[in-house]
Symmetry: C2
Subunit: 227 residues, 2 copies
DNA sequence: GTCGATCTTATCGTATACGATCTAGTCCAT
DNA sequence: ATGGACTAGATCGTATACGATAAGATCGAC
């Protein structure tokens, strides 16, 4: 992040990795919006590399679900509709719930303090209306807990879900007024469950409901707006 | 499977796909056991293709977790220890549980009949001691249900889990005597839950316990055998 | 004027080639 | 004999080149 490898002296980053990060970044920040055609030769020229590493990067993004690929035709940024958003949220609810429950026993009192600090900062964001930072802090909050997740596969699924959300954030995400405040309250309740050593299943379902609640809020909000 | 594309006229299968299937097959049937070094040029010669599609296949397998890859060093079949097995089973319990609950409302009475037929065949396998076929039928049983899963992401995770298990089947899986019979009984109970339109969460937890039970049985079994 | 066949072009899929990097073995100095 | 530097071989990473495929344009027939 600090020193973006100037031109052709990547200290420890292969060209295919550079291509991967390059494309991924552009997809996430919206430069390449859903449906955008990724032409290998074109991207290769921009990056001043050959098509081979670019192709590898694109296939990798395909494996991650960020782009779709058709043989002899090409790749394009994955189309993400409401249905996709729903599936992703449902899956996230599932894996985040489990990840929270599995992590709970390993959350220290220091972690709890840090989590509460973050949650407080989120309240500040509400007052100053900084939705972007709010979302960031939300991830940090959960990261403090998940950091202890003993099952790396489940943790990986959580990160995949987050990536996917980042992908379609700009197109689908909309800030639902009441939900943000509800969210920070649920955070505090989650922390209390963890602190009190509640049953794993209780924690799991609470964390699951936390995610599901965001989904429901969004759906209701859209429905009320006649969409 | 039926017609292994003779030489250079793959009707509708790219060379990288052929390489992918070739390697995957060998990993699953144990020809390439964990730790086996996958040398691109070597495999390329065997398949009479260049290294480029082979490399693509290997990277794809890496993304799936079947092989590990180190830059400028090479790839090898992923090492899978008991811990890995545990993680996979825990994750599978999670996603299979949800997949079952989500699919339940769409399971028809015809599906129920088919599932019960398969379950009966599994009992036969027990009597004739055919553990391999038993495992196959077990997958079919769950497939009948999951076929209706409305969330493709979760279904995909189930399949990934199955793939992963197939990967380490030979090295870690051992047939636990009493568990198989227990398993078919749990199948029947699952079907009854689905049939009676039980609450989604009940179905989810039952399906989850079904998978967890296999894991516990295996762990206890190993513990009792002093390992 | 519309439909279908041919041709053109853009893009992908793969082969080959070569430079870069790692690993291991050898040799020399201590 | 042991440790470190050097050399050689193997393997990977990427560039370039060319054949293969598919989408679109052009032209002719009805």
């Amino acid at each position: 992040m600090a020193s973006d490898a100037r031109d052709d002296a990547p200290v420890t980053l292969s060209k295919s990795e550079r291509a991967y990060l390059f494309i991924k970044e552009r997809i996430e920040n919206g430069s390449y919006s859903p449906g955008f055609r990724l032409v290998l030769g074109q991207i290769a020229k921009q990056l001043e590399v050959s098509v081979v590493p670019v192709r590898e990067a694109v296939r990798r993004l395909e494996a991650e679900g960020a782009v779709t690929f058709e043989r002899n035709v090409g790749a394009q940024v994955a189309m993400v509709d409401e249905r996709e958003y729903f599936y992703t949220m449902e899956t996230l609810a599932l894996v985040e719930g489990k990840a929270t429950a599995l992590s709970a026993p390993f959350v220290s009192s220091l972690d709890l303090i840090e989590a509460r600090d973050i949650n407080a900062a989120m309240v500040d964001c509400l007052h100053h209306f900084e939705p972007h930072r709010f979302t960031e802090l939300n991830l940090e909050f959960h990261a403090v807990i998940f950091e202890h997740c003993p099952n790396p596969h489940i943790l990986d699924l959580v990160h995949r879900g987050w990536n996917r959300l980042a992908l379609l954030r700009d197109s689908t995400f909309s800030f639902v007024p009441g939900r943000a405040r509800e969210s920070v309250e649920e955070h505090e309740r989650l922390l209390q469950l963890i602190e009190s050593g509640a049953a794993p299943l209780d924690i799991e379902l609470a964390a699951r409901a936390h995610r599901t609640g965001t989904l429901d809020a969004l759906l209701n909000h859209q429905a009320n707006q006649g969409r």
